[in-house]
Structures are given as C-alpha cells and as structure tokens.
C-alpha cells in the first residue's frame, strides 16, 4: 500500500515532521471531477457489496465532495491537513484515495474485514488521514489545533475538515465554531455533507438544524452553500477568498443516495443493505454514466 506521510499521531509527539519541509508538494488535479465521483461510487459499491451491507449512503452522498477534495487541486498531499470527522465515511475516503493513486486499488478488497487496515469506521490506524474520530463532532476541535499550529509555525498549510450535518446536534461543534471565528482561523475550511441523514432517519425529523448557513454566519464564519453534487462548484467555493479573516464553511447540499435511480427511495441511507440484485442494478447505473 502506497502511503503519504502519516500525519495522524501514530508516533509520539504527533506529526511535526511536515512543517520542517522546505516546500509543499503539488496538489492532485483530476480533469473530470464528475467522472471521478462516479468512479468513487463504483468502488464503494464493490467494497460494500462484498458483505452486502454497510456505509454506502455516505459514499453516494459525498462522492463529489471527495472528488473535489482529493482531485480538485485543493490539497497538497503530506502538507495540507485533511480531517475526516464522520468516521463512517471511511469507505469514500478509501475509494477516493485509490482513484487518485494514494492507495492501491487491490487494498480496497479488504475493506471492513477482520484484521484489515481499511476499517469500516476509521481509527488512528487508518491511512492517509490527519485526523478522524468515530465519536462525532470532535474532529473540528482538532482541526482548529492544526490551524493554530500552522499559525505558530508561520507556514501556509490549509486545514480541511469534512463534517456531516447530523453531528451538528453535538454542542462541541458550536464551541469550536465560536473559537475558530474568535481567533480568525482563515486557513481552516470546513465542508459539510448536508445530506439530511442520520441513524434514526432524516435530520430534520430529529431536530431542526436550519438555517444552517445563517447559524455558521452568526457564529462568525464565511458560509457558502452549494450543490454538493457539483464537484466544480465545491472546488470553486473552497478556493474562494475574502478580504475578511474568517474561517470558511462550505455547505454541500446532497442526497443520501446520491441521486441513484436504482436504489429505492425508502432505503436506509445510513446503513444500506445491498443484495446481489440491487448491487448489480447500481453498478449498471454507474457504469452507464461512465460509458
């Protein structure tokens, strides 16, 4: 398995190595991000299809967000930080990493299996992540720690953190939001996969998060809302700059099933059951998009 510099604190003292580097590597740029997103979905279907159930909805909803982050020229591997808050999204992280050459595609076959390095819920062992945590809403605080560290080091790293919408029910999200704005952490960019899905159903059936963008603005952030299935729009919003020194949040509005016609609308998006017939139908639909 090819690995980027491990920046997830496996060695005592964390990952101070990177800031000693003279220059940053070039970011990965993939020409057709929509196609990349489809290939990410296809990988995810194959990975989840081995066991017949799993966190496929996360990959279906966030495929364009990961295409933008991993292939959109935003992140310089080993330099900029990537923090994955909802660890259930590990599947889409692996799929995207394989697509841009950071993971060997063969490794994807071990996803979720006993003893694998590619655990279904990402952990400290998970390759290629600077930070992740299966206990939700913690990662944004760690991302802030990275942003502060970059400020102390006077380097130009950006910190990207992917958050899900359901975890915004946790109070820590808003503790962190207040802090980041107060300290004008403008190298911090949060992208939210706003798919309106959590374990017990639709987020808006459990609690009212909206108006989400206004909430972040009220907490002092620069908030942009985009179609989360438009990878180019996601890239553009994450590359956008402003004169004011504020952290950036990009709210990507998505559908938990990624707009796939072959999946019944009543399916449980958080933990999708994928029998052989459904798997074949989804693969056929995705492959047709690539044809």
């Amino acid at each position: 398995m090819q690995k980027r510099a491990r920046l997830n604190g496996k060695s005592p003292g964390g990952c101070g190595d990177g800031r000693l580097r003279a220059g940053a590597p070039a970011p990965v740029r993939v020409g057709d991000l929509a196609r990349l997103a489809t290939r990410i979905r296809l990988h995810a279907v194959h990975m989840v299809g081995i066991q017949g159930f799993g966190y496929l909805g996360q990959a279906l909803s966030a495929a364009e967000i990961f295409a933008a982050l991993y292939g959109g020229g935003l992140m310089r591997p080993g330099w900029d930080r990537f923090c994955l808050s909802p660890a259930h999204y590990a599947v889409v992280h692996y799929a995207a990493a394989a697509e841009v050459g950071l993971l060997h595609p063969e490794a994807l076959k071990s996803y979720g299996r006993d003893g694998t390095e590619l655990e279904a819920i990402s952990t400290e062992r998970t390759p290629l992540l600077d930070l992740t945590c299966g206990s939700l809403a913690q990662v944004i605080s760690g991302a802030i720690g990275f942003a502060l560290a970059s400020r102390y080091a006077k380097d130009d790293r950006r910190v990207f953190a992917l958050l899900s919408d359901g975890e915004m029910e946790e109070g820590q999200t808003w503790e962190a939001a207040m802090f980041a704005a107060h300290h004008a952490l403008d190298r911090l960019a949060v992208v939210i996969d706003a798919n309106n899905s959590q374990v017990d159903g639709q987020v808006n059936s459990v609690t009212t998060l909206e108006p989400l963008a206004d909430k972040w603005r009220a907490f002092g952030w620069r908030a942009l809302e985009v179609d989360g299935h438009d990878a180019d729009a996601l890239v553009a919003s994450m590359q956008s700059t402003a004169s004011e020194r504020k952290p950036l949040v990009v709210i990507g509005r998505t559908q938990i099933l990624g707009g796939l016609k072959s999946v019944p609308a009543t399916a449980d998006g958080h933990f999708l059951k994928l029998d052989p017939a459904l798997k074949a139908a989804v693969i056929a639909e995705l492959e047709a998009r690539l044809a």
Binding site: L7, N8, G9, K10, P12, G13, G14, C15, G16, R19, E124, D130, L131, C133, G134, S135, Q138, V139, I140, S141, G142, A143, I144, G145, F146, A147, L148, A149, S150, Y152, A153, G171, Q172, E175, A176, M178, F179, H183
Partner: protein, 333 residues
C-alpha cells in the same frame, strides 16, 4: 518527609511551567476560563503568544490540545479536575489518550478540597483517568514535588493527568527530595502497619504513622504520587509481612489509589488486611476543607483507627494530636 505545621508557598506549578516553557518553545498553555485559579496567569503574562484561553468549552479545549500535539507541540491543559475529566471524558479518551499524544491535563482542586460542593469536587477523576490506556496519573500536593513534576511529565512522552492542590501549597518534602514518575517514596520505615498515601493525604499519613509508632505499632508510610503506573514493587515489598495496609486518598475509595493498591497486593498474593481511607462512595457537600475532611473521614484519626482496629482490635485506639491551623501554615485534619 517533614511534619506539620507546614510552610506554604504559592504557585509552584505556575512558576515551574513558565520556567520550563522558556526553555521548551514547543509548550503551549491552554486555560478554560480559570487562569488565575490554575496558576497560569504567570504563563499568560510571561509568554502571552503561547497562552490561549479557550473559555468555558472543555470538550473543544481537549480537541484543540490534541490537534496542537499532533502537529508537534507539548500542550498543558489547565482547569479544575472535575471539568477536564468528568465533563469531557470521551474527548480525553479519543482526542488525547487513544492517539497517545503529548498533552498534560492539569486538574486543580482535588477531592474535597473544594468548598464548591459535588459539582466542583473531583472525587472520581483519578478513577476515570486511570481507566484510560496510555494515561499516566499523578496526584500531588507538595510544593517540592510539584516544582519537579512539571519537567518530569514533559520528559515522559504521552498523556499525563496531573492532579494538583489549588491555592496554598504546603512544603511537605525535604529540599533533597527527587520526584520520580517510576518510584514511590518510602517516606518512613516500619514493619507492622503500612500506609500508602497520595496528594493531600500524605501529611495525615505521616502524622498517623507517628501516632501508631508512639503506641507500639511500627508503621511505614509510602508516598505514592504516581497512581498509574503504580510502583507495585515498592508497595508490595512494604506490605509483605505487615499486619495491616491502609490506603489514604482524597478521592473516592472506588477506582483510585486504594483500588490500585488492592489490585497490586492481590496479584502479588499478599494477603494482608486492607483498609481504604477516602470518600466512601458518596457525593459530599459544600464546606471548608477542614470541615469536609473531618466530616467525610479523611483525617489523621481515621487512618489511625483503620490500622489500629485491624492490628489491635481489643485495645483502646490512640488519639491523634490536635493540629490547630495557624495563619500562613498548613496542617492535615
């Protein structure tokens, strides 16, 4: 170790941290809106660029500490013991302990030393922190040890919970004392009874041992500031052959020093009767340190009673001396 009344000093931790941070530029100091109370006003004033007041947001503070540590910093997190353990346990577990980061969590106002009632009284912090893999747990209430422990916990890579008395800090150790994260201290030798104490209960243990000695029960005192990893070898060696072991801690009797000693003795096959002096699995109340330590049985007499009743149950228990507090000094209850 010295006997009461003790001289007191102020801010030994805050001074030691500033001194070390001048040398170690990787150190960052976080406070949770309790800056003066955690002696870190000294850091804030001396090294303001590396001081961050995160405010009343402990979950966020622990996460930020983790991020800074992953990027190579050594981070001191400062607040009251209740707020950096009980309030944000999952964050300490996932953001600090599991990734084994260089974050030193400093919790002030241990046990019943707070007049603030159960919300402010850390009676379970040692138990909570001890249960976390990778975490070192240290309980200190002696200015000499505190001054040395700051450097020691930085030199030990990985997470540490440092439990400190707030306010007036007694000088209990001789100036020659060398604090160790690996070795408990045989503060007094003796054969028949063995008292193992940490933090604010060390002075009471010393006086209780003197009382027992004076009444014919030779008593040793083990000062065990490091509760995890426990120096089981020193404790087992002292307990073997004794007729009673008494643990003394300003903490619940569940999960702290008493539990750790019980585990060590049982695993070593040392079948000596054990009595645990500590908060007896109850939530306490508001009150002065003197009142609460007396009311919740954390006094010298309680330690004497525990040893005496085990060793000489038919004889009258000797009385602990009265230790009136005079201004500017410190004494156990």
């Amino acid at each position: 170790m010295l006997r009461p009344p003790y001289e007191i000093v102020l801010k030994p931790y805050g001074k030691a941290l500033v001194e070390l941070a001048r040398e170690r530029t990787d150190i960052i100091c976080l406070s949770g809106d309790l800056t003066r109370q955690t002696e870190t006003d000294l850091f804030r004033d001396a090294l303001p660029d590396r001081f961050i007041n995160v405010g009343m947001a402990e979950a966020n503070m622990i996460g930020i500490a983790g991020g800074l540590a992953r990027a190579g910093h050594t981070v001191f997190v400062n607040t009251f013991g209740v707020f950096c353990t009980r309030r944000c346990y999952d964050q300490v577990a996932m953001a600090i302990a599991y990734p084994n980061l260089d974050v030193k969590i400093v919790g002030f106002m241990p046990g019943l030393s707070s007049p603030g009632g159960p919300s402010h009284q850390a009676i379970d912090d040692v138990a909570l922190m001890r249960a976390l893999p990778n975490m070192t747990v240290v309980d200190l209430a002696d200015a000499v040890e505190i001054s040395q422990a700051v450097r020691a916990v930085v030199e030990r890579r990985g997470p540490v919970y440092l439990r400190l008395k707030r306010g007036e800090i007694p000088v209990v150790s001789e100036a020659s004392r060398r604090f160790s994260l690996h070795e408990a201290q045989v503060a007094k030798k003796g054969r028949e009874a063995c008292i193992v104490a940490s933090g604010m209960m060390v002075p009471a243990a010393l006086v209780a041992a003197d009382v027992l000695d004076a009444n014919g029960v030779s008593t040793c005192v083990i000062n065990s500031p490091v509760i995890k990893p426990l120096d089981a070898a020193t404790i087992v060696a002292a307990a073997r052959g004794a007729r009673a072991v008494v643990t003394a801690e300003n903490h619940s009797v569940i999960g702290g020093l008493g539990s750790a000693v019980a585990e060590a003795l049982a695993e070593a096959g040392v079948g000596v009767p054990l009595r645990r002096i500590g908060v007896a699995d109850v939530f306490a109340e508001s009150g002065s340190r003197e009142y609460l330590f007396d009311r919740y049985n954390l006094g010298v007499q309680n330690i004497v009673d525990a040893a005496w009743i085990t060793i000489a149950p038919t004889k009258p228990v000797p009385a602990a001396p009265a230790m009136p507090l005079t201004a500017g000094t410190y004494a156990p209850v």
